[in-house]
Subunit: 202 residues, 2 copies
């Protein structure tokens, strides 16, 4: 698929069919992720593919708790009532999910490019996530990024090194909808996209 | 161009010809960036396109200062000597550059998905940067992410709101080399890519 078709079709998906995700689809997407740029060639991305139902249940609970907190932050009653009707994850329905982590401790004594900002490693992981997302879209699958979680509690679910920092949980499957070709939050009229990016020239 | 060709051809470029970057090329790439996913549809990316030579000079100085600090972090003498020979930016030679910022303050009182981790906004910007990068690659242009900078000093160069957090400076132009189809740090034998991504299944 052409790059731009892929970029424009990519959606943050929260509605999936119950179709399985073939291993070769996932592997292709993970290879695309692994071809992302990384600061100092650190390749800090770490993927934990989740199929276990009990683990999904635990992740769902971490989401539910955090989502209660989120609701408390909404001061406008009308907004809060609307928010409560939104489907913001598909942790238990999506056939698979991936917990994605950033290895914050380098294997070598010096990593080029990390001196200015310690978040550079996470940014590399986000670039890998975008590649993963585009590849899944290209293959007819969808991904939904779940960030409404208590990150430390989420990380505790997994038996991972203390130096791994989570970027979130990513639900993967066949999309049950394309949200009429727009972000779900736009389709449900929560928010509109800006027609153009903010660009200043100097 | 096919997505995978684009993903595999994308390089962190530090060697450019002096060819100009046409306005339509840049606009197409910025539109691709703007089609990235963003937490709660926040679209927090902000682009400042730099053509001004005096501004480039200031950015270069911020890089040079930070790079001196970086050298002090390298304990191995042989490594340090090698590092000093590396070309890690093209701030003054690249015809244009973009300073990319993340707007950390939402325009609305509540942004979906940001409660768990305040870095979610920056991750959205990194996804946009990956789209920008892929589009420039697709159009025959290259991008180099400069992160060896003092981020607060870098931000001071620009007249931007205090709520904008910089992700770095991005050199853009026609690549003078493809580094033999591999990352420059691999070509110069500083580091090798891992043959496969780290994936665990549960």
């Amino acid at each position: 698929m052409d790059l731009y078709e892929c970029i424009s079709k990519r959606r943050d998906t929260r509605h999936f069919t119950n179709e399985e995700v073939p291993e070769e689809v996932l592997n292709k997407a993970l290879e695309a992720a692994h071809a992302a740029p990384s600061v100092g060639l650190s390749e800090p991305w770490r993927f934990v593919v989740v199929k276990s139902e009990p683990i999904k249940k635990q992740i769902k609970n971490v989401f539910l708790d955090k989502n209660e907190e989120a609701k408390l932050e909404i001061t406008d009653e009308n907004q809060k009532n609307r928010y409560e009707t939104f489907k913001l994850e598909a942790i238990e329905e999506a056939p698979i999910g991936i917990a994605i982590f950033c290895e914050t401790q380098a294997s070598e004594s010096f990593t080029i490019g990390t001196i200015g900002n310690s978040n550079t490693l996470e940014w590399s992981c986000a670039c890998a996530i975008q590649n993963l997302w585009l590849s899944l879209t290209e293959q007819g699958y969808g991904l939904g990024w779940v960030s409404i979680i208590d990150y430390p509690k989420f990380t505790e679910i997994f038996d991972v090194p203390k130096t791994w920092k989570a970027l979130g949980y990513f639900c993967i499957g066949k999309p049950a909808t394309d949200y009429d070709g727009q972000p779900m939050l736009e389709q449900i009229k929560w928010k509109s996209r800006a027609p153009k990016p903010y660009v200043k020239y100097i």
